[in-house]
Amino acid sequence: MRGSVGVAALVVLGLAVWGGALAPHDPSSTVAAPWLAPGGDHLLGTDAAGRDVWSRTLSGGRGIVLTSVLAAVAAGAAGTLGGLVAGWYGGWPDRLLSGTADLLLGVPLLLVALVLAVVLPAPAAVVAGAVCGGAPLTLRVVRDAVRRARRTGYVEAALGRGERTPVLLVREVLPGLAGVATADLGLRFVVALQLAAALGMLGLGAQPPAPDWGLMLRENLAGAALNPPALVAPAAALTVTALVAAAFARGTAERRTRLREPAP
């Protein structure tokens, strides 16, 4: 069950990034009349500009998913680093980092990304927004896990052997955090995908005629009655991608709690 969620997540992500290779038509050029109903040469019909909806759906996830992966990794890395320092040293570094994290959590991340979109290109705004809104959550989780790990026997033993702190953090503490970090990465990805979809839909991301799930929602909302799949296909693609990532994160987190629960 758990393995199948991981496989499904990989398949969906792979399809989102490389699915464009399977596109039967050029996703960016007009190939038929606008708003054709599904059928014949066009599996999902055509959109407002007569472009093939199926080809655009296959190609439209690449930018959005790669940006979200990058944003998730950046947020996870920043949060993990901060959490390691805050949890390990405690004292003023902890107060400074946790205080900053609490402050950042006080501002909605969509607002952060929107204001940044004035000065930055959309992918950079998504990454920055996801880091501002996601890293603080990662920091909290990692900080608490490090505080617990610091009191365990194997870390105390390593401390007693006189290991240097960076070596100890990388060799003894980080491996224990792998599960937390993986589940967390999935959640950061979902949030980044939501941001990227929102900026794309608002016209601040990919520009026409490029294929992009968010932009497709914007282009085809008005004419949805003429060819519903033009609106439903990108919405479904976004939803499925977000759901597998969320299910993966949930599964990883639950497995961790099951494994950990019997221990004192």
């Binding site: 006080g106 969509l110 939501q194 609106l231 439903v232 939803t239």
Partner: protein, 319 residues
Amino acid sequence: MRTAPRRSRWTRALTSVVRACALLAAVSVAVFAVSDLLPSDAVAVRAGAGATAEQLDAMRAAAGLDAPAHERYARWLAGLVTGDAGTSLVNDRPVAVLVGARLPATLTLAGAALLVAVPLTAVLAWAAGAAPPRARSWTAGAVAGLAAVPQPAFVAGLVALFSVAWGVLPPVSLVRAGGSPLDEPTLLVLPSLALAVPIAAYGAGLLGGALADARALPHVRDAELRGVPRWRIATRHVAPFLLAPALRVLAVSAGALVAATAVVETMFGYQGLGELLVSAIATRDVPVVQAVALLASAVVVAGTAAADAAAALTEPVTA
């Protein structure tokens, strides 16, 4: 473990207010800095491409833009406090007038969305945190899934179902000029659902965990074993421990709702503050972006501080 010194409730409540003020100051600096990071400033945008460097310098001096950043920040802040948020670069109208014209529409929409979101959050949180075990794990998964769906995709789904497939609700919520959205309440149904459902799912995920924790507290278990009636356990033993998390979840949800109006209003063509913010971003109309972003942040920060302070005052003391 190092134990933090115990602080009184009033100290904690005061701390959250001070922290909110610090955060708002930081946000105002950040929002102001955006205009300085732009490659072309307000004058260059307004003068167009034909202006010479000398003309631009003269215009900057006239507009006070050659002053150092901290002076311009102080002037901007003083203007905001006195209700003068500058003029739009696009249509030269005062920003305060533009914002004032959109504010009632967004307040109406946000109010309608909260009316749906609050009871929905309560029901979903109960299902995810207190229903029988089998139903609980299923609903917790469903709630997490619902919260993961990107907002624009959710809106597209609502439009596809209610407007395209069933044709019962309008896909566009254009309010007549000079009219109020309450003149035609059907226009509010889809936008407020689009705002309320994802946020209720998100809030229920947070609150469901708090509910499960509260039900596992020793005194609740003890009351169950003593045969105290369920309603009495719920109201006397569990509810006091839920008040503080519920207030915090309400504040977080309301904040997310304010931000989400940008997406929902744009998709439904609803003329509110969120739509104003998005169109101002698209045209690089910095004074409007700054004013709306700061106003939204102020609402969110004030809401969070109020919830934190109230939570600190009402939280039961646990040993």
